[in-house]
Symmetry: C2
Subunit: 154 residues, 2 copies
DNA sequence: CATCCACCTTGCCACCATGGCAAGGTCAAG
DNA sequence: CTTGACCTTGCCATGGTGGCAAGGTGGATG
């Protein structure tokens, strides 16, 4: 096993320490999100504490739903001592808007479907307003209320 | 152009009539969601009104966020005259739960990020609570409140 | 009839982020 | 030296959609 006091770790240890899978660490390297680390004579990747810190940063950003390209920008801002915080904030708020839009789309779908389900007996009989709605020839009965849902989704 | 009174159409017309792209119609056929249609002597796929109806059904289900495999089940239930509506309802409500879970995850991310952004001056100075949080060595300051957000996401 | 354009056919690649598997090299402990 | 845990690279799959390419069809127009 690894000696916890060591400052240089293999990819597996870096993965455990950062919460990013070894798989993804290699991937992030490949797509240029992180710099290629030093290599041991064996060819093993070698990560230092700073590298792990960066990976942890990425992990957190991913947990907040940032796509990789935006994480790249966040990393650049992080490393830029002269960044204007306004830039970070703008990036964050743009992402918030995206998250909200996606959430709203999902909720619109949920609401529509829940409403349809509310009209369905849910017994042994075959009559089903849910299927009836899906089978609508165009756009009648039980209109998909609220603001445009499906289109903005996905 | 096509004579609108024709009952048999090429894939492009079927696409326009159903709201499903020609691209996706072929895809749905390939993955077995729909049966291979008749072919003209030329090899062109030929779709009847019933086929278009089915495609429209699929389109609606997609708009409600159903994944293809669940749409397959919905189609089977639709065609089954002896279906118990309870089955349809259960499928729908299971999907509603999934939609709600995803929406909740997105909202949790949004809320966290919005809160962080709220603490950020957003001016020319480099100090930024957003980056500070992402760079947290572990799990201190401004705890990611609420119920576990990131983990359940995506 | 020749030409043209819009349409159709199949097939492969890309996205995004992640996981799985395979075949082989490395290292430390027993 | 063997074993087992780890590392390496590379390819394939996911889900749903789009794009492009190379070639065949069909109908309208000159």
């Amino acid at each position: 096993m690894a000696r916890s006091s060591e400052t240089s770790m293999n990819i597996g240890e870096a993965a455990r320490a950062s919460g990013v899978s070894a798989r993804m660490i290699r991937h992030y390297e490949q797509v240029g999100l992180i710099a290629p680390p030093a290599r041991a004579a064996s060819g093993y990747r070698s990560y230092g504490p700073q590298d792990v810190h960066t990976l942890h940063f990425i992990r957190r950003a991913r947990d907040l739903g940032f796509p990789l390209d935006e994480i790249g920008r966040l990393l650049a801002l992080w490393h830029d001592r002269n960044r204007p915080s306004a830039e970070v904030k703008a990036l964050a708020l743009r992402h918030v808007a995206e998250l909200d839009a996606k959430a709203a789309a999902l909720q619109a779908m949920s609401a529509t479907l829940r409403r349809l389900a509310g009209h369905c007996h849910g017994d042994d009989r075959p009559d089903c307003p849910i299927l009836d709605d899906l089978a609508q020839p165009a756009d009648q009965a039980l209109p998909r209320h609220g603001t445009s849902a499906g289109t903005a989704a996905r």
